[in-house]
């Protein structure tokens, strides 16, 4: 028993605990105070009913679920009320009757919620419950009583924050996050809400509610890491596709470089060349090397997630090139691809590689969607002027999109494929929106799916360049 009262320590056995906090000298119980007590008891009862273990409000920055937040609110009100009563040494039995007092005591003594009351003036611990002792890892009879001795348990980097919280507690409820260093060396992350207890004599005590969030944060961190890994993994596979296409693109200048160099060398050795020829070949080699360097740089930018390098581009040519890049792995031979250019489509200002990545992804999705579709399997890739924008559509003769999924398919992790990560379309939408465009899905009249993205028209070259 760790409650500091005039009666001193009692026993920690629950049977006697309906006296610990409650069996204190009764104070006068005005009608308003009675109201507070009712709120306190309702709060505690509500919190208990909603499940004591999981009802603390999450720390700042974590998504709160409504039930959890509600439960935490109940608990906070109830526990602070209880602490206030304990500090006031109110006869709860007298105030509420025996059952309520028993319930409140049970909550304080058996709940996981860590409750304490500290005297502001003396800095001494007035009350703490068994959960507090369990959290701190010190038996109740050896619990540090003074504020300074308690600070020894606070991680050295967090002591100032804890002191500040104490010092400013009179201003109103405050929340402080700190690390507890237990005597066994374990470090726990604690979130404590400090609530000033106002009494007739003024502000003399604070009540605290603490929660050990170490495990929950570890779990959330792990989830976030997993999310990050998945996002990266899918990003990498998309990058992998583009990389294969770019490898093809870089192969051409490299082949040219080698052919120029070796042929020229043979001719020089054979004495059948002129200086002009050597100069011209060297120029060509330099130009081809420059070309391959650009391809490699774009790939590097993509992998590193550098800001996009946009330039004015002919969308028809870009789309045609990408369809060609798609390759036999992406486009099985029995899938008929029809590319429909639109000569009136405006030029766009885009990062080629990123737009290619989007289009390759859409094509791959369409082909996968047609895996079990009846033959012939057809794929349409079309470019179209669309007001001030240019649009690219990828249509397939697959089963189409379930209307319930039409918008969800862009959500991260949403997938209908057994081995999908659900990141592909989410990444695509991010890229398109970063270009100022939109990406959406609809069903074709004859049943297949149609995915379309738009890109704003580039300003005319004279204004642009």
């Amino acid at each position: 028993m760790t409650v500091k009262t005039r009666r001193g320590s009692g026993t920690s056995r629950p049977a006697t605990r309906n006296h610990g906090a409650a069996d204190v000298a009764a104070a006068d119980a005005s009608a308003t105070k009675r109201g507070i007590w009712v709120v306190a008891s309702v709060g505690l009862a509500g919190g208990a009913a909603l499940g004591l273990d999981s009802l603390f409000a999450p720390p700042p920055g974590w998504p709160a679920r409504p039930v959890e937040a509600l439960g935490a609110g109940f608990l906070a009100v109830g526990a602070v009320g209880l602490a206030w009563l304990a500090a006031r040494r109110v006869d709860i039995q007298a105030a509420f009757g025996r059952e309520v007092a028993t319930l409140l005591s049970l909550v304080a003594e058996h709940g996981r919620e860590v409750i304490f009351v500290r005297n502001v003036a003396s800095g001494r611990l007035v009350y703490c419950n068994p959960a507090f002792a369990r959290m701190v890892g010190i038996p109740p009879d050896r619990m540090p009583q003074t504020r300074e001795s308690f600070l020894d348990l606070v991680h050295v980097d967090d002591r100032e924050a804890v002191r500040d919280a104490w010092a400013t507690a009179s201003a109103g409820p405050a929340t402080v996050e700190w690390r507890l260093v237990r005597p066994d060396g374990g470090v726990r992350e604690i979130v404590t809400r400090i609530v000033p207890l106002r009494e007739r004599g003024g502000f003399t005590r604070i009540a605290g509610l603490s929660e050990d969030v170490t495990d929950r944060r570890a779990a959330a961190d792990a989830e976030r890491r997993r999310y990050g890994e998945l996002a990266h993994a899918d990003g990498r596979s998309a990058v992998g596709e583009v990389a294969a296409a770019l490898a093809h693109e870089v192969q051409q200048p490299l082949f040219a470089i080698r052919t120029y160099a070796r042929t020229c060398l043979r001719r020089v050795l054979g004495g059948s060349t002129t200086m002009d020829e050597v100069r011209e070949v060297c120029d060509r080699i330099a130009a081809e090397a420059e070309r391959s360097a650009q391809v490699v740089q774009r790939l590097g930018d993509l992998v590193r997630g550098r800001p996009p390098q946009t330039r004015r581009d002919d969308l028809n040519a870009l789309v045609a090139e990408t369809v060609r890049m798609a390759g036999p792995d992406t486009l099985p031979p029995d899938v008929t691809v029809k590319m429909v250019p639109d000569p009136t489509a405006p030029f766009v200002k885009v990062d080629r590689v990123q737009v290619q990545q989007v289009l390759l992804n859409l094509i791959r999705n369409a082909v996968e969607a047609m895996a079990d579709a009846p033959r012939p399997r057809r794929l349409w890739v079309s470019v179209a002027a669309r007001g001030p924008e240019a649009a690219v559509s990828v249509g397939d003769s697959g089963p189409g999109i379930d209307p319930d999924h039409a918008e969800r398919i862009f959500d991260p992790f949403f997938t209908t494929k057994p081995d999908g990560t659900g990141m592909g379309l989410a990444i695509c939408r991010t890229i398109v929106e970063a270009h100022g465009g939109r990406l959406w899905a609809e069903s074709r009249d004859d049943g297949g799916a149609l995915l379309t993205f738009t890109l704003p028209a580039a300003v005319p070259p004279e204004a642009d360049d």
Partner: protein, 213 residues
């Protein structure tokens, strides 16, 4: 190596959508004395007349629009018999099989080694030279056959059947001396040295029986 006379110089037809590759290949082939024509798309080559000089086609399998395989199939349909060397950036077994079925003499995977490519090209051109020579000789012989008189043709057919002079004379109701004259005229017109050669060539060219081609 001295360049052959222009009429007999070989031409390489390069079809590749990548200008870098096209230009580099052109430089490579010109460096060994070959004439080069480059085409950026399959359709451009389809607009050309079938070559009458020895040569070879070097074509990329994957191109926008019509790919290399379809191009070669279309050329074969138009009677082109020029040998084809395919170059592929992403060679797969099915593509290679289709290429060989389409009549490729070779299928090289990028990155292509330039000397190996030259070897294959020269081999293909030598094949084409031989083919063209044979075609040319046949054409010339056809002209010679066409120059024979009806009587000479009758004599030739009977010679192929193995008839001796007397039998031919009886069959055609002419004198053996006249048969002798026709035989001499046949050897001269067909530019052969002996009767055996005349008959063998005529049989090979399908005279008197079902033509071999």
């Amino acid at each position: 190596m001295t360049d052959p006379p222009p009429a007999d110089r070989a031409t390489v037809l390069v079809v590749d959508d990548a200008p870098s590759v096209r230009d580099a290949l052109a430089y490579l082939f010109r460096s060994v004395g070959l004439d080069v024509e480059t085409y950026g798309a399959a359709a451009d080559l389809l607009g050309r007349e079938s070559p009458d000089r020895p040569g070879c086609i070097v074509v990329d399998v994957r191109m926008p629009g019509m790919g290399g395989l379809d191009l070669v199939a279309a050329l074969r349909e138009r009677g082109w018999r020029t040998p084809v060397v395919f170059i592929s950036g992403h060679a797969t077994v099915p593509t290679a099989v289709r290429a060989m079925q389409a009549g490729a003499v070779d299928f090289l995977e990028k990155p292509v080694d330039d000397e190996r490519l030259l070897d294959r090209i020269q081999g293909a051109i030598a094949d084409d030279r031989r083919r063209l020579a044979a075609v040319d000789a046949l054409r010339r012989r056809r002209a010679r056959y066409a120059s024979l008189t009806p009587r000479e043709r009758e004599v030739l057919l009977l010679l192929i059947e193995g008839c001796p002079n007397k039998e031919i004379a009886a069959h055609l109701a002419i004198r053996p001396k006249t048969v002798e004259r026709h035989r001499a005229s046949l050897k001269a017109k067909m530019r052969v040295g002996s009767l055996a050669e005349l008959v063998a060539q005529a049989v090979r060219d399908g005279i008197g029986g079902n033509p071999p081609d």
